[in-house]
């Protein structure tokens, strides 16, 4: 079995070893499987492991590489996919009891893309039921139970890509795929001390992914570095004729050229002054240190402010209305009662009561907001702030009352489909990670990835790992 040190290497580092045949994809897969079998249940990180499929793919990758057919940086790298992505013949539960036995006869496009570049599916990651689409008050809102944070198992990973966050942080796989409608990639990335990319809406096909909010759902990677996110994003981005919401071919595809990228572009960074009303004690200092590190690398960092308006309200109504439609059958049939969470059992009825006129008004407000944000990005390439104003919260916390604060940036970013990355930027006194977030203009995923990579050239927070046993 490979050592923990090897299993915590980034995708880029593992890829070099695989390409040079210093590590075998089969050995790597067996090692991650053994670690996942031992530690996964302690964290409630997986919905299920897929060992047979993983070993079949690992042997195929090994054979290809030995023959000299190396397919690139994800070839032979094991990963986990959030359990709302269809994998042919394997249960896809959406984290919810009513769908516990659901099996699709096709692969989600993202799964296909990763298969085509030789990545190895290790298992399906646990998640908040229906990705939080019916609302939830507790971390236990999941078919798999509460996902425990590898940095402190009394704390939560955040959701809804809860298992994806735990798996990467605990070194159970090389990377994971998650989804975000509002916070579900960047928050688990921050709470778990890893790097996570929320791509521009429409750059990654959602065919085969559970729909929660048709105009806000995005799929993206959670990984050990911004550079890893860049490589994974390059593999999964692209137009899909089977998903009409994907951007056109020339706008959706993403090509990564590491050297040219880092030397060729200077970024104008805006430090957001009104993203959070206040930080939990001790966090402000960490964020100030991150800002200083950023300023050291980008002397042109200037303060910036988000426009004010009812963005969170519009986002809430759009999300509620779309979720009310996406899960209409579940609500009308009454099977929503089978969900774990007390809020999840009733909130869908409220979502369905949002009128068409109010939903459309919210969409029109979004259109106005998009123009305001486009104007803001005339002055900046990237906006930066803390990913969350708090560190990982206790597992038993009532999230409705205890993790409830204004989040205008989350609303704006997800309403407008803006790309964002969260990267680790420090630790609290209790050794819980804090995330720094970079948000870019729609379509400029390259800018947020570049900001994350440059930040990680000057800091080592992303190289710290929890002691898990």
């Amino acid at each position: 079995m490979l050592s923990e040190q090897v299993l915590y290497l980034s995708v880029g580092e593992l890829a070099k070893k695989i390409q040079l045949k210093q590590i075998s994809p089969v050995e790597l897969t067996e090692s991650y499987l053994a670690r996942s079998e031992a530690l996964g249940p302690k964290l409630n990180a997986y919905a299920r492991l897929t060992p047979d499929l993983a070993l079949e793919q690992a042997h195929a990758a090994e054979k290809d590489i030995q023959r000299g057919h190396y397919r690139g940086p994800l070839h032979g790298i094991p990963y986990a996919a959030k359990d709302l992505l269809a994998v042919k013949g394997i249960p896809t539960t959406w984290g919810a009891k009513p769908f516990a036995d659901q099996v699709f006869d096709y692969n989600a496009t993202v799964i296909e893309h990763l298969h085509n570049v030789g990545a190895i599916l290790l298992g399906k990651a646990a998640m908040i039921e229906l990705a939080g689409g019916m609302g939830y008050a507790y971390a236990s809102a999941s078919l798999q139970g509460e996902t425990k944070n590898p940095w402190d198992t009394k704390c939560w990973t955040c959701g809804s890509s809860s298992g994806s966050g735990a798996i990467v942080a605990a070194g159970l796989a090389g990377f994971a795929i998650g989804t975000e409608t509002w916070g579900s990639i960047v928050c688990p990335s921050a709470f778990c001390g890893i790097s996570g990319l929320r791509p521009t809406y429409g750059r990654v096909s959602r065919r085969g992914a559970m729909a929660l909010s048709y105009s806000m759902d995005k799929i993206g990677p959670l990984a050990r570095s911004a550079e890893d996110c860049t490589n994974i994003f390059a593999a999964i981005a692209g137009h899909d004729p089977l998903d009409r919401s994907t951007l056109p071919v020339d706008k959706a595809a993403f090509t990564y050229s590491p050297a040219a990228d880092l030397k060729g572009r200077s970024l104008r960074i805006g430090w957001l002054t009104n993203a959070w009303k206040q930080y939990d004690p001790g966090i402000g200092k960490i964020v100030d240190t991150a800002k200083a590190a950023l300023r050291h690398r980008f002397p042109s960092v200037r303060d910036a402010a988000l426009p004010e308006g009812p963005w969170e309200d519009a986002a809430t109504l759009i999300l509620s209305g779309e979720a009310g439609s996406a899960f209409s059958q579940l609500i009308r049939s009454g099977r929503v009662k089978e969900l774990n969470d007390p809020v999840g059992r009733v909130a869908g009825y409220v979502g369905q009561s949002v009128s068409g006129a109010d939903y459309t008004t919210s969409l029109r407000i979004r259109d106005i907001l998009q123009k305001k944000i486009a104007d803001l990005f005339d002055s900046y390439d990237v906006l930066a702030t803390a990913t969350q104003p708090v560190a990982a919260t206790p597992l038993s916390l009532n999230l409705v009352t205890g993790l409830s604060f204004a989040d205008p940036l989350g609303a704006i970013g997800n309403l407008c489909g803006l790309p964002a990355i969260s990267v680790p930027c420090g630790f609290t006194d209790k050794n819980l990670p804090i995330g720094l977030q970079f948000v870019g203009r729609a379509g400029d995923d390259a800018a947020v990835l570049l900001a994350g990579r440059i930040f990680q050239q000057t800091t080592n927070w992303h190289k710290k790992h929890p002691k898990v046993s």
Binding site: G135, P241, L242, R244, G309, P310, E312, D313, A314, T316, L317, S320, G334, K337, P342, V343, R345, V346, A347, Y349, V350, S353, V354, D358, T360, T361, S362, L363, R364, I365, R366, D367, I368
Partner: protein, 77 residues
């Protein structure tokens, strides 16, 4: 008023499904939603502002493989 009406509407349709605790939760959620509705409705919008919904009239379809017999027939005509 409006929040209460929405709550009653839900109860009239699905009332037998909810416990007393769930009904209280529903009532509270309707009040929270009402606050959002009022803020959104108060936002100044003109008739011509933001069409919001766009139809994508062009539909991409996967190309179906041509059946050999159909291809042969096409060559003959």
């Amino acid at each position: 008023m409006e929040a209460e009406a929405r709550y009653q509407q839900i109860l009239s349709q699905y009332g037998s499904r909810f416990s007393a605790e769930e009904k209280a939760s529903l009532r509270e959620m309707n009040l929270v939603t009402q606050a959002s509705l009022e803020k959104v409705r108060a936002f100044s919008l003109e008739n011509g502002d933001g069409p919001a919904l766009y139809l994508k009239p062009l539909v991409e379809r996967e190309k179906k493989p041509v059946q050999p017999s159909a291809a042969a027939a096409a060559r003959k005509s």
